[in-house]
Structure formats: structure tokens, C-alpha cells
Symmetry: C2
């Protein structure tokens, strides 16, 4: 079966930049390509958009197909559309890139269709990447670093219940600089949407910390009231 059009068309793909955080670093999910071009090279998960398929749906589908990762509560947002001719050696391929923030421990990854392998890589120590994916990742990193300062998106990188130290570690990792513990705690709690669950950590070899959660409904309420955060 084949399809014929009156005018030539660029091909359309989606790519996904999935960020995760562990105790050490910011990580990104990559797949090792099983097919040409760039066979054996690491790349962002992604693939062709089907006719009649929404772009976000396509991004989620490709991600699930290639890495087994299903985004549920994760944060997913369109990043940018990359369409420079020559970014794909085969032909003109335009890619709509998305980025997601997930809690690494909630998700098991496994390679599947079109991917020889799939695993998390430290953002600070990436392999060579296929296509213009190094560039896409750079743009995604800038967006993440910029947006986390004025939108509460970072919570998607943490477990549902987290300590303020974990949250502080998140901001320090993303912003690339240390922040003052007392001021950080004061500010976060003053925002009003980081709420104490009343619970504490268990099984830690030290004084257990209080567990907090992100109250999304409260955040939306404050947002409607014209409130603004700035970290």
C-alpha cells in the first residue's frame, strides 16, 4: 500500500525528552537505535506521526512503544518543532519535540520496537546522539531550567510525598547552584501549595524528615487569583 499526493510533503515525527531525577543527578531517557539511519547510536525516543493522530498522543505512543514508559501523572509539554532541512540524512523530516518530567522510581524502562536498548543517562555525561538530538536536548534543558523557576513543574520529578530536602536538592540540581536551607523552606511553605502530610520518612538511619506533597488544586486556585511564584 502506498499514498500519493499532489505536492511533496516533509515527513513528520515526534521526539520525547524525558527527564528524571535520582538522588544524584538529572537524567534523561534515551534509546539505542536498532534500525538505520544511526543504527547503534543513542537517540531520543520518537517516531513518525500517523495520519489522524494527535501530536501529544503520538509522543506518548512512541514513548510507550520504544521504552515501555507510560506517562500518567507525569508532566508533558510541547517543546519546539525542529524542521531544518538536513536534520535527517534520508529526507526532510520535521520533528515536533516534547519534554516530560517523571519520577524515575515509578517507571521501569525496557527496550522495545525499533530500540535495541533503553536506559537513563546522566544529562552531564551523554553519549553522542543521532540526528540533531543533542541540540533538542539542549533546548529542553534550557526550557526546564527556565520554567521551573516560575511554575511548580518540578514536583513531577519527585515521589508523591517528599521531604523539603529532596525538593531543595531538585532545585539545586536544576538551577545548578546551592540555595539557603532556611530561606528555601520559608519560601516553599509560604507559597501555600506545598503541604505537610503529617507523615514522616521511615527506614532512614537518621532523624526522619516530615513528608510534604504538592497540592495541585490549591496551586490552580492561587494561580487564578493572580498569584506568582519566583524561585
Amino acid at each position: 500500500m502506498s499514498f500519493t499526493y499532489r505536492y511533496a510533503r516533509p515527513a513528520l515525527t515526534v521526539d520525547a525528552v524525558v527527564f528524571g531525577l535520582d538522588d544524584e543527578d538529572l537524567k534523561v531517557l534515551l534509546v539505542e537505535r536498532a534500525g538505520e539511519p544511526f543504527r547503534g547510536t543513542w537517540a531520543l525516543p520518537g517516531g513518525f506521526v500517523n495520519v489522524g493522530e494527535d501530536l501529544e498522543v503520538a509522543a506518548r505512543r512512541e514513548l510507550a512503544e520504544e521504552t515501555g514508559l507510560r506517562l500518567a501523572d507525569a508532566y508533558l509539554e510541547q517543546l519546539y518543532t525542529f524542521g531544518a532541512p538536513g536534520r535527517d540524512p534520508r529526507e526532510h523530516v520535521v520533528s515536533c519535540a516534547w519534554y516530560a518530567l517523571v519520577n524515575i522510581r515509578d517507571h521501569e524502562v525496557r527496550a522495545a520496537t525499533d530500540a535495541a536498548d533503553a536506559r537513563w543517562w546522566r544529562v552531564q555525561a551523554l553519549p553522542d546522539l543521532a540526528f540533531d538530538h543533542a541540540h533538542i536536548l539542549e533546548v529542553a534543558g534550557e526550557r526546564l531550567r527556565g520554567k521551573v523557576r516560575y511554575r511548580p513543574i518540578g514536583f513531577a520529578l519527585l515521589p508523591e510525598r517528599f521531604t523539603l530536602s529532596q525538593l531543595q536538592h531538585l532545585y539545586e540540581t536544576l538551577l545548578g547552584r546551592g540555595v539557603d536551607k532556611r530561606n528555601f523552606r520559608k519560601k516553599m511553605l509560604a507559597l501555600g501549595f506545598v503541604v505537610d502530610t503529617g507523615e514522616t520518612e521511615t527506614d532512614v538511619p537518621r532523624r526522619p524528615a516530615r513528608l510534604y506533597r504538592f497540592d495541585e488544586a490549591r496551586y490552580r486556585q492561587l494561580e487564578r487569583e493572580g498569584f506568582e511564584m519566583w524561585v
Copy 2:
């Protein structure tokens, strides 16, 4: 001539949301469609991307072709890519939307290929629009209102030399609220990249105002130094 592919492909277009400002209002450039679908309906200028053509180049080309407007110093930025199936009644068409800020008085618009007419419309009083263009325009407006507060993009809406009153009018129009004259002037001049040209207005029936300009090189310098603006 025709083109055959192994798999069906969505079509790919670009659309441009061009904002301009006059003494009264924020305006947007629309074209009246000369062809089907939506013949006779007003729409954003735009059209199909050629194979091998960069997306930004395509956006500029369609804009020039349909409205005669050539963006030179104007601000142009990718907005978002809209790909919901059904947004075009003919078939699945994915559109990469861009937005631009121009100084209305620098540009003459005239309808050309595919456009029966082309003119500026008040953003507050738009006609019914073709496709999902009302939605695209709404997204563009949100982006503009958000971004103008932390990036000096508004200057593209003004002549090269402008008075502080014009600049204040710009911010009041975009933000939708009045601002204090003395505080506004203090802040703008304190930023360091709005500089006095030493000239004044001519031919005004009142005391002439000083003319300022946006010093982009200075802005870039400050940006590198980690400076941040917030209006």
C-alpha cells in the same frame, strides 16, 4: 506531477500571528481567504511548507506572499505546533504557528496570492476566523502577554526612536492595566538598555518628549551577566 510515499503523511503548514500596535490598540494582521475551504473568511496568513524548506523561512515566505509584509527587524518566534486531527476539514493538517511583533507604520500591507484582502484588525474586535485560528490567536496573545514581562520584546512594536510615554502605553495595552508614570520611567531607565538619543519629538502640538531607543547590544551584555528584568 505527484509524489508517492510508503506511509500516509499529515500535511504540514505554517501560520503567522503578526501583532502590531498603533496609538490606540493592539492589532493583528489577517487575510481574507480567496480559496476553499473557508473562502471569504478571515484567517491567519500561512500555507504549506515546501520540502527542503526551513519552517521559519516558510513562515516568512507565506507572510510576504499573502500580505506583502517582509519581516526585517521584526521579532519572530515559533509559537506552538497545532496538530489536532479535524482542525482542517479537508484532511489531517499539522500547523507550526509563529508569532511576530512589528511596527505597523513601517509596513504597508496588500493582499496577494490566495488572499482576497489583507488588513489589520483590533485584537479586541476580531471577525470569525477560519480553522482553529481563533485558538491559535489566543495562545499567541497569552505568550505575548507573558513574555513581554521578562524579555524586552515589546520594542519591536515601536518605531526605532520612541518616547517613554509610547513605551508605557505599550505595556499598559499588553498587560491590560495602567502603570504609574514615575515608577515606570524609573524602572525602564534603570534597566540600562533604554537609552536617551538626545533627540526630541517634532511636529507635536505640545511640549516635545525626549526620544529613546532600545540598545540591543547592551541588553545582550546584561543578559550574559545574569541580569533579569521583570515588569
